[in-house]
C-alpha cells in the first residue's frame, strides 16, 4: 500500500496539529477535527500554509 507523506501545520483557531497529505493541491479543503475550522491549502515558498476557507454562501450548490 502506498504511504502518503504528511506535512504538519497547526490549526489557526485551536492550535491542533493538522496533517496535510503531501499530494494536497492548492485549494484543497482541510477541516480541523477538534474545532471544525476549515482551511484551504496554499503552497508558498515557505512550504504549506493554511488560508481560512469561505463559509457556506446562500448561492452555494450545484
Amino acid at each position: 500500500m502506498e504511504v502518503k507523506v504528511k506535512v504538519k501545520v497547526r490549526c489557526l483557531e485551536c492550535d491542533r496539529d493538522l496533517n496535510i497529505p503531501d499530494d494536497a493541491v492548492d485549494g484543497e479543503i482541510v477541516t480541523c477535527p477538534d474545532c471544525g475550522a476549515t482551511y484551504e491549502v496554499v503552497h508558498t515558498s515557505n512550504g504549506v500554509e493554511l488560508k481560512q476557507a469561505e463559509s457556506i454562501g446562500e448561492d452555494w450548490g450545484e
Binding site: V25, E54, E58
Partner: protein, 288 residues
C-alpha cells in the same frame, strides 16, 4: 493544443472531489489541464486574459461567482461549459421551471408570488402540504414542506426579514406524491451517460446526497432518456444533472436541472467514468 500549452482549465472556488477527478481524467486522456481558483481571477474590460486554453469547465460552488466568471470568459470568446445562459437558467429555480414548461418538459405545478400577503393567500388556495423553495440555492437547503397556514406564515415572516431581495420571491410547488427517492440523471451533450436513484436518509424527506441520501443505479429507460434529453435541450444543453421525481399518476416530472453537477454519489455506483465523459465532451466542444 492551444498556444499556451493548456487544453482545459477547470475553474473552482472550493475544491471538491469532482474537480480533482476531472483534472486526473484530463491528464490520463493526454490533455494538459489545470485547476484555477476563481478567487484569484481578475478580468478587465480592456485587457483580455488569454491563458485559459481551449476550453474552460466552470465548477464554482458559488452560483453567482461562476455565472459572472462565465460572462467574462464568453466575452473573450472562450468556450465555457456550461454556457452563460444555461448557468443563469439552471441556477434559478423560477427561470428553470419556466424554461422546462416552455420546452414541454413535464414538471411539477409551481406558483411564483411576489409579496408576503399574496404568498399566504396563494398557499391557502393551493392547499397544504406544499413545498417552498428558495429560487437560488442548492442541496435542498431551506427547501421546506409546508404543512399548514401557521407554518407558511412563519416562513413568510422569516423571509421578509432577510436582506436578500430574492428572499421575497416565493416559489411554491405542489407536493408530489412519490416514492422516498428521486432520480439524478447526468446528461453530457446529447447523451444520458448514467442515472441513479437517490434515497433520502433516515429521518430526512429530501433526497440530496449532500443530506446523506444514498445512491443506487437506475436503469436508463427510453422514457427517462427522452425526458432528460428534452430537459437538457430546453435549458440549452451541456453537462447537466437532471433531477426527476416519479409521480404516482403522471410519471416522470423534472423538478430541477443542475449546472455544475456533483457526481461523486453517482460515480460511487455507476460503471460509467463520468469525469472522463465530461472531459471528452469538453474537447469535442472545442473542435465543433
Amino acid at each position: 493544443m492551444s498556444s499556451n500549452g493548456t487544453d482545459i482549465t477547470i475553474i473552482f472556488d472550493r475544491l471538491r472531489w469532482e474537480e480533482k477527478e476531472l483534472l486526473d481524467k484530463a491528464s490520463k486522456l493526454g490533455y494538459n489541464a489545470k485547476l484555477v481558483d476563481a478567487k484569484d481571477l481578475v478580468f478587465s474590460t480592456h485587457d483580455g486574459i488569454r491563458s485559459f486554453g481551449s476550453v474552460v469547465i466552470e465548477r464554482c460552488i458559488s452560483h453567482y461567482r461562476g455565472l459572472y466568471i462565465t460572462a467574462c470568459l464568453e466575452s473573450l470568446d472562450i468556450p465555457v461549459i456550461n454556457r452563460y445562459h444555461v448557468a443563469e437558467v439552471c441556477g434559478n429555480k423560477l427561470l428553470c421551471s419556466l424554461t422546462l414548461v416552455k420546452g414541454n418538459v413535464p414538471t411539477p405545478k409551481t406558483q411564483f408570488v411576489f409579496s408576503a400577503e399574496k404568498a399566504i393567500e396563494v398557499a391557502s388556495n393551493l392547499g397544504y402540504p406544499i413545498v417552498f423553495k428558495p429560487i437560488v440555492g442548492s442541496w435542498g437547503r431551506l427547501v421546506i414542506p409546508v404543512k399548514d397556514r401557521d407554518m407558511m406564515e412563519s416562513i413568510v415572516e422569516m423571509r421578509e426579514e432577510m436582506p436578500n431581495p430574492l428572499s421575497k420571491i416565493y416559489y411554491l410547488q405542489e407536493y408530489v406524491k412519490r416514492p422516498p427517492r428521486d432520480i439524478r440523471a447526468i446528461v453530457v451533450g446529447d447523451r444520458v451517460i448514467t442515472a441513479v436513484y437517490r434515497y433520502a436518509a433516515e429521518g430526512e424527506w429530501r433526497t440530496n446526497i449532500a443530506r446523506g441520501g444514498k445512491a443506487e443505479l437506475c436503469p436508463i429507460t427510453k422514457e427517462l432518456e427522452d425526458v432528460c434529453l428534452r430537459a437538457a435541450g430546453a435549458v440549452g444543453g451541456g453537462v447537466l444533472g437532471v433531477d426527476i421525481m416519479e409521480d404516482e399518476s403522471r410519471g416522470l416530472l423534472v423538478h430541477e436541472v443542475n449546472n455544475t453537477v456533483e457526481f461523486r454519489g453517482a460515480a460511487s455506483v455507476s460503471s460509467v467514468d463520468i469525469a472522463q465523459e465530461i472531459i471528452r465532451y469538453a474537447m469535442k466542444v472545442v473542435k465543433a
